[in-house]
Point group: C2
Chain length 493, copies 2
């Protein structure tokens, strides 16, 4: 059984299959009976809860409040902003009826044709429209601004090809929607929240990200600018991990939301929206995990330390338990989430394999000889290295190891990204390198046409125009026309 | 403006209208553009978050884990359990299509008829069916049991008459779904969670509740027993505040979920489900609030203490601020959520009225003379009593007042309920008293027919057969037939 758990496809053999198997074997999620929708299992959800908790804290620290808006959006609302409806119409789940009835032919229940809605309702693919329709009533004067609201919610986009966490029809996310009196303030808000996402990714997920702005082609439907954080997965592909949009006055105009400024003149309100989703789970899983299973950064691990006793009989178990319980207490006092697994129905070898697959950062094992010698075996999930350590002072040691592991994971992911990020100057080299899985910094002439051609020919997209890094002008690798600076190309999830 | 805020309908004049106005004026929620769906505004959502946080803690302390299941349920799943579909079919929102397209006639977007689903999907009105379809794959042996899972989610029931928080088409809730090897264990779980709800209602919401079991008529669709907590609102009507269902093997049979017991024989799994929703917000609001606005128990108040400075000029404000900031710090250290409102764009009178309407438990006001005399004015929201108190020791004093207010609210609500709970022995007296708004303990012959007749003739229902209280047998007030014990009748929300 232990062996079976570890019987993974290897990353090198088939990265995509390795990921799919890992999600299931680590008990994070599974496919549901509803096309494209997953069940997030308790262990997976516990990780998501830790993410939510930290993000929510960061949103509140930056002055945001939570609220809740309706799940269903009148179809006509979607049409108000032209780009927006263009972007989402093709993936809308549509509610057309509000009642079932017994089938007159006796085949269970059928949709009651008499209960047809006058106007169809759309399950929110995102909430700009319903929220700006609401803000219209909240905003009259500059005194009502800014509005800094966030919502934790489920959304639905009828995607044709789905993958657990990375792209599902229903997903969980947060969507911030803010309203401002000036363009400058809204732009600053969009950048501020991108920085919150980037801090979260790096300091909690241990995932380094590249911040930048999307090209017009890749913008959110209805935005003037879309800012993004892009992370590299272990196969060299990019995962867009969070976006923050400067919406200008588009939604204010679509929903006629104006305010009286300090000079008592009406003006349209400026907007942002920003979101991260359960997709972050995908980024977390793919950034750190290995051929033995999940590797979790301590900051987001539901169980940070597991202690497994190894005993021959009940007496042996009791002796170990007596020694271990005060240690468990000490961990808890330090705010470390610890599990003492003395369950009798699974053998230590099975437990070891299971916690390894589940990515528990530190495993302590303690047997009869350890008791006698006052030692404990410590295993770190990231390095898989074992050491024997004195029981005295084990808590301090483990706390230091957790800290060390958190930064080691970030460092490793950063090193991986640096090793797979290159500058390329010719389109031929680009085509060759993109096949091998690289982040490629290359010159581009700034036109959607060239961008589109590269995408068609290589499946690579411009992930972003980075905020930082080399901004020397050059010439486009494809057309030879002038380029303002190198941009980041990659294949992506 | 201050006056306008307080210009409420009085409870005595029109309790129902008072409630509707209060929800809006206290900035808790508002109607949305979608029929029957509300927008929960930041202040209302902050209260719900405090409820969620505490309940979630209590669920985890009793061994439950959170997970997430799909929003949409295949229509055929609903039909599997006969009572269940009977109970929910009439209020199902039905998704029939998955795409919009541009109207060929140029009128915005229309539903794409080519994108019709083979099987319609229902927005979950509750999740037993999709969850038990999932549990089928999780449960094989007695070793896989119990499963103790909870989900925080939105659900949708197409209600014809809606009222904010009390009955909305979409609402937020938690739904626990547990699976057990034995009938006894499942029954014990259902009761355990009812007790968790009752503890929460009494100790956090300061709402006393009567625990009991529903009659067959009032059972959850698909349950063998439904346990309930019933609270009395200030108008003497009952509000069902939480239910916990013993589902027997109904859903296991409907979804063919069996396990191998210790004797290696297959058995159907035993189930419970239990839920509380944003309806609790309605219970909270209606239990304590008065003609001046919301009254919140300190344990669930987003702002527990507000401090309002009263000053003539900037210098005066600064002098007060200097005195107040260390007090604010001290409150925070004590875990008290405090707001120092020195905003310059609203006058103190307006602030007083606003915080009163919003139910902030303690208001401190401090002016020039207070500074000189080392005092502060303290107002308690429940009693509206003001006192002048020395600034020295104010934090201790306020902490004690908050504790006192928490228990005073429960006591008051309990006294209100006791004053309006009576025993009645004749149907004539019953009809008279029910008009006046009472919880009536009366004998009933145990038949659905008599229950139905009483409901039709008086609009009163049996809220529950209480676990506690007088269980002397008697005769039914309507039919004169034997009655096992008095049951609780009331009109209800």
């Amino acid at each position: 059984m232990a062996k079976e758990l570890k019987n993974f496809t290897k990353r090198a053999d088939n990265y995509s299959q390795w990921y799919n198997e890992l999600v299931v074997k680590a008990d994070l999620a599974e496919q549901s009976a509803v096309r494209g929708c997953m069940v997030i299992k308790p262990y997976g959800y516990a990780i998501w809860e830790k993410m939510q908790h930290q993000l929510d804290k960061m949103f509140k620290e930056t002055g945001h409040q939570n609220a809740y808006f309706p799940l269903l959006i009148p179809k006509s609302f979607l049409s108000r902003e032209a780009d927006h409806v263009e972007g989402f119409a093709k993936e809308c789940a549509v509610v057309t009826h509000y009642r079932l009835k017994n089938d007159p032919d006796g085949n269970g229940v059928v949709v009651d044709p008499a209960a047809k809605l006058e106007e169809e309702l759309i399950i929110r693919p995102t909430s700009e429209t319903i929220i700006w329709n609401t803000y219209k009533n909240w905003i009259h004067s500059y005194r009502d601004l800014p509005i800094l609201v966030n919502q934790w919610a489920n959304v639905f986009r009828w995607e044709m090809r789905t993958r657990m966490f990375l792209r599902t029809a229903e997903f969980l996310w947060q969507e911030g929607h803010t309203a401002h009196a000036t363009r400058e303030e809204a732009e600053a808000e969009a950048i501020k929240m991108l920085n919150v996402y980037s801090d979260f990714a790096q300091n909690y997920m241990a995932v380094p990200v590249i911040k930048g702005v999307k090209t017009a082609n890749e913008r959110f439907a209805g935005a003037l600018e879309t800012y993004t954080i892009e992370a590299m997965m272990q196969d060299g592909k990019a995962l867009q991990s969070g976006t923050s949009h400067f919406l200008g006055q588009n939604f204010a105009k679509a929903f006629d939301v104006t305010f009286m400024n300090k000079n008592n003149e009406p003006e349209y309100v400026w907007a942002t929206s920003w979101g991260v989703s359960t997709r972050l789970m995908g980024a977390l899983i793919m950034s750190h995990s290995d051929d033995n299973g999940l590797v979790l950064p301590p900051a987001l691990a539901p169980i940070q330390v597991v202690i497994v006793p190894i005993y021959k009989n009940e007496e042996g178990r009791q002796a170990i338990t007596e020694k271990v319980l005060p240690i468990v207490d000490e961990f808890r006092k330090r705010g470390i989430s610890v599990k003492y697994d003395d369950a009798d129905n699974r053998r230590p070898g099975f437990k070891f394999a299971d916690y390894e697959v589940k990515g528990v950062p530190i495993r302590l094992a303690i047997g009869q000889r350890d008791l006698e010698e006052g030692t404990v075996e410590v295993m770190r999930r990231d390095t898989l290295e074992k050491e024997t350590y004195p029981i005295e002072g084990i808590v301090e040691h483990v706390v230091a190891q957790l800290d060390d592991m958190q930064s080691a994971l970030l460092k490793r992911a950063l090193a991986n990204r640096e090793a797979r990020t290159i500058e390329v100057n010719t389109y031929d080299e680009f085509k060759e390198k993109i096949e091998q899985g690289y982040f490629i910094m290359a010159h581009w002439d700034g036109t959607p046409e060239t961008e589109e051609r590269i995408k068609e020919e290589t499946k690579a997209t411009i992930r972003c125009i980075p905020f930082e890094g080399d901004n020397t002008p050059g010439v486009c690798m494809v057309t030879g026309k002038p380029s303002a600076r190198r941009v980041l190309f990659a294949r992506s999830y």
